[in-house]
């Protein structure tokens, strides 16, 4: 009494799912725009040394008097006379290093906290939950300002700041996801099979927390770009002369009426990445349905 797997049907279904993914990722205009933007910047970030016409920190002492775009500097220079195009290109590298690092750190910390919180419940849950409440209650920007004015602006402090900011939120989401999965039968089956908590948490549960977390990851990546930019705007970004898009916007804000390019190009770069992240999140949310 064999129950045949309707082979062709299954393959169809596979193909269909792949098609659906493909449709969402590529045929859906917004998602493909988002992916293209991110891909573009990723390539720029990786190939920065090849692409940038100048060293991003070298000062053109003649250009500092008139930073407008010219044949020598396609996008002009910043107020200090450094080639804007090169700085934007290298800034992509900074952004694509600091932001993913920060967000991944936030997800690692928050994810583990949320997982542990949900899995063990009871006091662990209460303590982690309350700690998250307290952290979320602190006015975030002020915490970074205190942090960064205390320990100085460096990449690791920005990573720390973003982690502090986002980990509680991630933990909450993870906790909710794990709680919903925790009582599902396959987890119960693993528990009944005597699997240890680590195996269950990381092998059984983690691969299934899925889409909501990925959507959240995209959104938070976008916010992190904004946050890193805002820290730069408040003068608390990466130490100079590291090219940092947020900091570059600030450098030009005062000259907006005179040399709008100094702010506008990096602002456009920041905004494009944030929009891409948000569009991607939207698209992936569609995938879940």
């Amino acid at each position: 009494m064999m129950t045949p797997l309707a082979g062709t049907a299954k393959h169809d279904r596979h193909r269909k799912r792949a098609r659906r993914l493909g449709r969402i990722l590529f045929r859906s205009g917004s998602v493909s725009v988002a992916l293209n933007i991110l891909l573009f910047w990723a390539v720029v970030a990786v190939a920065a040394p090849l692409l940038s016409p100048y060293d991003p920190t070298t000062i053109d002492f003649t250009a500092s008097l008139d930073p407008s775009p010219s044949a020598a500097h396609w996008l002009g220079t910043d107020a200090t006379g450094r080639d804007l195009l090169s700085r934007i290109i290298w800034g992509a590298r900074t952004t694509f290093l600091v932001v993913p690092l920060s967000v991944l750190s936030a997800f690692a910390v928050g994810g583990v906290a949320g997982m542990v919180s949900a899995w063990f419940g009871g006091w662990t849950d209460t303590i982690i939950g309350r700690a998250g409440d307290v952290m979320l209650a602190f006015p975030a920007l002020i915490v970074y300002i205190i942090l960064i004015t205390s320990f100085g602006p460096s990449m690791w402090n920005i990573v720390l700041a973003v982690t502090l900011a986002y980990a509680p939120g991630v933990a909450r989401l993870m906790r909710a996801q794990v709680l919903s999965i925790k009582s599902l039968e396959y987890v119960l089956a693993a528990r009944a099979a005597g699997e240890g908590p680590l195996y269950i948490m990381f092998v059984e549960i983690l691969p299934n927390v899925g889409t909501p977390l990925i959507v959240d990851l995209c959104l938070r990546t976008g916010y992190a770009v904004i946050l890193v930019g805002t820290l730069g705007f408040l003068g608390l970004g990466l130490p100079p002369p590291t090219p940092d898009w947020g900091g570059m916007v600030v450098e030009g804000v005062n000259l907006l009426t005179l040399y709008p390019h100094i702010s506008l190009f990096p602002a456009a770069a920041v905004t494009s990445v944030v929009i891409a992240c948000n569009l991607l999140a939207d698209g992936l949310r569609g995938l879940r349905r």
């Binding site: 309350r130 209650a137 006015p139 920007l141 916007v249 929009i275």
Partner: protein, 337 residues
Amino acid sequence: MKRILINRIVQFLVILLIASFLLFAVTEFSPGNVAAKILGPYALDSQVRMLTGRLHLDDPLLTRYLRWLATLTGLLPNQLGGDATGLGLTDPRGAQYFGNFGFSLMQGRPIVDVLADRFAHTVTLAVWAIGLTIPISLALGVLAGTTAGSWIDRTITVITVTLTSLPEFVVSVALIFVFSASLGWLPGTSPLAQGDRWSEASQLVLPVAVLVIASSAYVTRIVRSSVVDTLARPFVRTARLKGLSPLRVTFFHVLRNALIAPITVILLQINWILTGVVVVEAIFAYPGIGRLMLEAALFGDLYLIQALTLISLTVAIATQFLGDLAYVLLDPRIRVA
């Protein structure tokens, strides 16, 4: 209901207590010895040491925290006030009263006075911003949600996604560029100074606009998705199959249930606007809490930071509390337990 309320209030106080201690401990790491701050950059080491001793700034952390708490609750007089320190800092309310945060090192005034004005300004900003955000985002969110998939929805979605992607400083700068620098219609800064050319109302327009743009785009998206989710729930089908008009279905069935989730988000926005509009207040030189926070942090005004953070904490926890309360009031499943 009463029990829930009492329970939450106790929780609220406990969190506040823990958070205030954390806050105190964290700010201990902030730069600048308090005594040196008070005496200014040209003080001699000996003067700093003398003042440190006089203010008992070298006591253990817990002792200082308890003293701070006692001062705050009016049990002990403030250390900085009075003649003993020779700083000439006086508080018209006396040395001992509830809510005594001490003196701002930056401004040499009682913190209560420093805060009073600033908080009022921030509240003004918040009232306008929230007052506009709620109707705008509800209207747009419901419109987009009920017409999900249509061109109206797509237009609203594209606009809100774009706007939520724009950092506040970009929006601020863009608005200043257009409405102030180029067109000259509105003031580019909002110090709320009395002027002949710009009224206080006109100074509020741009900061409020930035806040409304930032939060209503976000709230609109939340409302939209909540409306879409609610529309998919079977009771909406029940209502339609009852033969109710679309308007009635939207208002009596969809909205009522779709608004439970956004309430929390709206409260979070209120919290943000009351405590976190650092960037907007800094760009527009708006004399509110956010800018005061930035100044205090950059100056290292320890007592002012503590006061401001404690207030923010209170606001944050209070909004959380209100959010829960709103849930309880809106959702009969919790209310009528």
